[in-house]
Point group: none
């Protein structure tokens, strides 16, 4: 996976403005349909300036990917670990899980434009998928596995299935909720994110089957 070089993230102010503008424009139109001219306008720089900081338009995408990975890797994974390690004593694991997922949901909600860009490109490009897997999914899965182990020991999570399976369900349920909120809010007339999360959490934990 050579697409990402995470070193040297000393971002010039204009570089950052260009990245932000690109996230906005890519997110609204998709990578191909976006033009460097519109990005420049949004960033408040000349079109030529973009190419001082990014050799090609493709490199802007790479820049976004790097930033996303950085941000998500930091907030979504690192902080998660801290939470798990810190919250042993005073709170029970069930509450911790709930809080954890709720925080993740808020996070994803807030970086949705960025996520949309990454997801769309990941749909079409293997190298982007690899980067996402290596830098986000694999790490998150590792953390979750640790967490799952502890949860399973305490009898909160199932241990008759691999953690990957549980993780997948978590991601699936969270993803579809976000998607519904972001893309079909008008059609579904959903409740606020808080109460939607409660229901999702319920189904995620206990399934759709009627209990005996």
């Amino acid at each position: 996976m050579e697409i990402i070089d995470l070193s040297g993230l000393n971002l010039h102010e204009k570089e950052q403005r260009i990245l932000e503008a690109s996230i906005k424009v890519f997110s609204e139109k998709g990578f191909s349909a976006a033009t460097t001219s519109e990005i420049a306008k949004n960033a408040g720089v000349a079109e030529g300036t973009i190419f001082r900081y990014f050799k090609t338009k493709k490199d802007i995408l790479r820049g976004i990917l790097i930033q996303t990975i950085n941000l998500v890797g930091e907030k979504l994974v690192i902080e998660q670990v801290e939470k798990i390690l810190l919250d042993n004593a005073d709170k029970d694991l069930h509450t911790t899980l709930k809080e954890l997922l709720y925080d993740r949901l808020k996070l994803v909600d807030s970086i949705f434009p960025m996520a949309r860009v990454i997801i769309t490109e990941a749909l079409f490009h293997e190298d982007v998928r690899e980067a996402v897997f290596e830098h986000i999914i694999a790490k998150a899965l590792n953390v979750f596995s640790l967490f799952h182990q502890r949860m399973a020991e305490k009898g909160v999570l199932r241990n008759d299935l691999e953690p990957e399976i549980l993780f997948r369900s978590i991601i699936g349920n969270m993803a579809i909720l976000i998607a519904q909120k972001k893309m079909f809010n008008d059609q579904f007339k959903l409740a606020d994110l808080d109460s939607e999360f409660e229901k999702m959490f319920d189904v995620l934990l206990y399934g759709i089957a009627k209990r005996d």
Copy 2:
């Protein structure tokens, strides 16, 4: 919702070939990055021929949308109803649900290229989202609601939550499985779809929480 005119689906052979080639190319590169020249090459027609059947490149997309909606609406929703109505006597509902979801999974798996095109465009265009909602989601939700009622009466599905919530979880779990299979198969080294389905079905039904 004016994007779709489902009438007149008497598809000329070349028109069909162009649509198929478009699905392939759009699916590989996305709508904007795909070129009519490449579509023509894939369809084995002259570039000009495309524009005999579709006024603009955008219209090809519309054609795909119409076909997908038709196909999905027919196979995914209509056949589902039949299944439900026919399978009352000889099979229990739990088995029916399993079969039903498994069939849906296979279907989505098979039309994934088409689905990928639609999903990407839906991400960026409200009118596509509306079409997808009206012609697929809303219908499917209706059918599921009927099914849920029966399932709930029989004590198979939960009735303490709205059917929408259960439906969302089903979609979420199925979607993430497909995505994993189609996009990260190399990374995850998944088992075959059959056994992955079994696990997903388990988690979907009973949740990730440990039972008391």
Copy 3:
């Protein structure tokens, strides 16, 4: 001048329909902007049929030119001669001239769509100009010269200037009236063609200068 071969004007019915449709479409949009598809639609034939009768689109124009020349040469020039020869006895020349010009005006008015096509093309192509000159202008000028001679003898027309000069003024005055009628009728709110002709005839004959 090889553009025209006036022989063989045995027009097939469809050929005639194609020519008529072409006059309509060329006249509305100009030669280049007109499409053979639209001509075909207007003529009520298949597009391929056009190319049975005319090797190229350019040839349709040639066909129109031939027809125009034929028609104008016949009606505008030949009949004019007859009029002159027949009207010696019973009418004075002044009345004859008036009638003559009035008839020409009506004729040009009626074939305006055809004329518009020819004029536009003549503006851009030397060969068309040559054809128009040779087959229409030169002939008309010849006839007028004869007529002028007789008129001059009778003291009706000036003989201190070459007939070409008088002829030019006639054409100029008639042309500008037609143009005004056909192109700026909304802006000028002209009277009917009859009374406009009367004024034009007055100015043409006696000039714009105040008589002593």
Copy 4:
């Protein structure tokens, strides 16, 4: 009439070169038959550069129209007024008229390529006709009306007909002379413009009829 926005005529050098090349090419081939590629070659710029200055090919035409109207409006109408106002004392009106028309003839002769483009388009498009009428014809007619009033008072021009009629004859006689010069010079073997003008002026003033 929205086709024209006369503001902002600060023409960039390349823009001017593109307009000049367009006048040349449009004038030679007509708008539809002209290609942007040929315009670019003539202007000595890349084809893409054209579209920096003019959004569409149609907009180039609009640019020409604006320039023509400006030029003609300025030179043909404004200067005319000055001439009339200044020449009261030292020259008689008859001489003034002659000079005036002769200058107009020279002007039209010099902008003939531009005029040819405008005329052709005016033949087919109402909006162009309206622009020409409003910005050129109407203004010129106003000026002439003033001039006619003074001329009539001095007994130089007829006052038994509306000035529009006289104006029409002037335009007709001038137009046909220009047309003859520009389009049929080879065929007619005309004298130089000066002496042709003399004859035209004679016929225009005194008509084609023999005086008693």
